[in-house]
Amino acid sequence: MKDGNGSLASPSPKTSKRLVIKEHILEIVSDSGEGAQKAGQSFGAVSAKMGNGVWTVEIIPADIQPPPRTKESASGIRIRFGSGKITNAGDEADILVAFNEIVPYNRIEQNVYREGTIVLIENKWATDKSDEIQKSYATAIQDFKDRKFVVYEIPMEEECLKLTPNPKKGKNMWVLGMLCHIYDRDMEKAAAQVGYIFRSKSKAVVDSNLQLLQAGYDWAREHLDLSYELPSVEAKEELVVMNGNEALSFGIQAAGIELCSMYPITPATSTSHHLAECIQSSGGIIHQAEDEIAAVGFAIGASYAGKTSVTITSGPGLALKTEFLGLAVMAEVPLVVIDVQRGGPSTGLPTKVEQSDLLAVLYGQPGDAPKVVLAPSTIEECFHFVILARRIAESFRMPVILLSDANLATGVQPFPRPQLREEWLSPPVDQSPRAEGAMPYGWDEKTGLSQRPVPGQAGGEYTLTGLAHSEQGKVTYLPEVNQKTSALRSRKLATFGRTLKPPRIHGDEEGGLLVVGWGSTLGAIEEAVDIAREQGGSVSSIHLRFLSPLEPGLLDIFKRFKKVMTVEINYSDSLDDPMITPENRRYAQLAWILRAQTLVDVDCFSNVYGQPLGPGKILARINEELGKLN
């Protein structure tokens, strides 16, 4: 392959040996609506099917149809794929496919390219009838070269026009074909994937896209000197590949949850899209409510009637559900709430990732409202944690909140195919008569647990209320009762906490720096820790799945390290900022909790660029901290 500024190679077929690589990061960026995501998702799926590790993240514009050829219009996808398991989106990209010269600047601003990043760019703008566009294109190409990108100008439109009168609709498949040649993808699998994504379209549409796919492949073979080989490891077990929201949808069904009550909100909604496609076949149903409050109220109604339900939302919706969450805690109604976090506060960054709802779910309700909060850190965990959440909700008679985020929601990763089990499903609604004298809140003093009556159970008749109530479910404002019942609700968390194990330590059991993470940052943190350790750094990490109650043994672990630091995607003050002192500094959200709970001086590294935290940035910070420790 060429160094310096690339260009089209001679038109003779390329038979050069493929360069063997361990992994690559590929980005495809287009105007919104040009299908870069579809091309990238297909590429990722094909790669996963070939046995490569894959992680993909979508680049989503905030508006539905932003003006074309603007930075705001940048829409696309990042695919990190390799021979081994890929656990995060990585740092700078190796290859960028751009449909025009403007959209890459959206990404350049976010420093996701480096010297040597290969840029494959649509060349039709060079000869556009507008002088302004021609000039813009020439300027950008020069700028790319100045940034030491390796530029290939590709006649995408020209080639597509040979097959379709409307290249805007098919260019993405041509690009997919081109990439399939560059990375030696299995074209049978690629064709099958194209057939799958256009499954609801006519045969003519499918055929046209298949032709474009093949044309892109052939063109690259004839004209490009880029060709890589990515050894794949044959999977020992059967795999499925999907994004985190689809995994949530499968988890909901595998848990036997028969009702998902929701209101559309980004980035949670795509879960309900998948559910809407298939939940009726597994005996469930989706209710699109009139608003976020009604969505959770409806779910609570169904849960009260014995059908433990789920509601799915994101930040602003979570805020609206606050009052009902308090009711579910107070009245001890099992409920699964999934919060796919986005940037906040307020409407914030609808399509971008943040881990900023932790304190809101823990402390958002007026009054004391203890509940279980857990956070999946992989796409596979998105599946399994829903099943877990339903069981906890029913056993402990309380809402369980699952904190996913935009990174998991849109990230696509292969994982072992779940082997479904009957015990994962919710049991049938108990309609047997209640034992004589059984009370609606017959709390066990030691654990805080009680068995709830369900409508239909004779002898269990009671009126659920959000007011303070006695064991009989009767409204009472007696001071002792409120103190006691508050303690019992809190005790359920302690009881549940007794079932948890201390977190596994990634790296040595003791040493210099301990990094603590939660949620979707798992892969990036562990990758950074591994690199730092290879370089001789004394650093380990733990990753918390349970945030309420916290996993046990943290203090014991923290004491074995010189410094403890959380890595999170939410806001914290930096001590370098104006006005900020150690006393008034506001910490990242998990750091607040850990400091309060352990009295250890836990530091934090967090930011809100709306981007997944790459291993490179985490590594840099780890090295900085290690430098200070030595």
Binding site: A48, E238, V241, F250, I285, G297, I300, T463
Partner: protein, 317 residues
């Protein structure tokens, strides 16, 4: 020879529920409050229909009216202010075997819960809603209600309220998929009972507005209606509420109104201070969302897992 002739088999009488099976505690509403009358009527309905207490759920919001479930010996859900409708709809959606009632008030329904209310009308689930309209906030001690007559003096409007009231009948009748709208009054017990019974029997969402006396903060309109029988008209029709003879004798003004005529119903409801008692509108054929919700119940574990596995196949590598 040991066979028993069919004629000899007699049904063991099922448990017969008496009024006391539905009563719980002593209602803590003020003496003279209209809520007591509705409670008695509903308990009577339960007995007449022999509703199993364990299969009956009263869902309420917040306010004087919403204490109602605590006085019924059935299942109850005394939830959040304005949110009885979504909870009740959630109860009914996957449990068609339950009898679901909503008890709400003018503030609960027409103010804080207005969004949920109009959508509950549109969902048209088989739920009986009784809206206690005393045109004042009683529990929080006399604030203006969304249904207070213009100029009502209250603690939040000491010089008189400044906006015209919400018209619950008109609003209901203006909502798409509306299927049952009726009005009655707490001090006309025969009519009250007949209306609640008709609402219960209606296959869909029955919205019953009960004009209600508040013994502490009586609204001027209610005062007028209770003191002047001529201010009230009874709607009569063969398809309407069949008022008892006593009611028809006591209230001389009768109006024949066909409850299938929504335009006429809207006309009658147009008057902000409409004092017609009876069935304004009924459509037994409106789309029922609870039927949609219950259409795929009862899957076996095997069926559920087979369906999920079939879906997983599409994501298999």
């Amino acid at each position: 020879m040991f066979g028993i002739k069919k004629d000899f088999i007699c049904d063991l009488p099922k448990k017969y529920y008496t009024l006391s099976n539905y009563e719980k505690g002593v209602a803590r509403w003020c003496p003279g409050c209209g809520d007591h009358a509705v409670l008695s009527s509903v308990q009577r309905l339960c007995r007449e229909e022999q509703l199993p207490p364990e299969k009956t759920v009263f869902v309420s919001g917040i306010g004087c009216s919403s204490r109602f479930p605590h006085y019924m010996n059935t299942y109850g859900f005394h939830g959040l202010h304005g949110r009885a409708f979504p909870v009740a709809c959630g109860v009914k959606f996957r449990r068609p075997d339950l009898n679901v009632f909503v008890i709400t008030g003018d503030g609960d329904c027409c103010s804080i819960g207005a969004g949920a209310w109009i959508h509950a009308i549109r969902y048209n689930m088989n739920i009986t809603t009784i809206m206690f309209d005393n045109q004042i906030y009683g529990m929080t001690k006399k604030q203006t209600s969304p249904t207070s007559r213009l100029g009502t003096i209250s603690n939040t409007h000491p010089t008189g309220s400044v906006l015209p009231p919400v018209n619950p009948l008109q609003t209901s009748l203006g909502m798409s998929n509306v299927s049952f709208v009726a009005q009655t009054a707490d001090w006309v017990p025969g009519h009250l009972f007949a209306t609640i019974k008709a609402g219960y029997e209606h296959p869909g969402f029955a919205f019953i507005k009960v004009i209600m006396r508040c013994s502490k903060f009586m609204g001027p309109l209610v005062e007028e209606m209770t003191t002047n029988r001529d201010a009230v008209s009874i709607l009569t029709h063969e398809n309407g509420i069949q008022a008892d003879d006593g009611t028809l004798r006591a209230f001389k003004n009768h109006l024949n109104h066909d409850p299938s005529d929504i335009y006429a119903a809207r006309g009658l409801a147009e008057d902000q201070e409409s004092s017609y008692l009876g069935l304004f509108y009924q459509n037994k054929d409106a789309i029922r969302y609870d039927q949609y919700g219950a259409h795929n119940l009862g899957f076996t574990p095997e069926e559920k897992m087979a369906a999920v596995n079939a879906q997983l196949d599409k994501f298999a590598v």
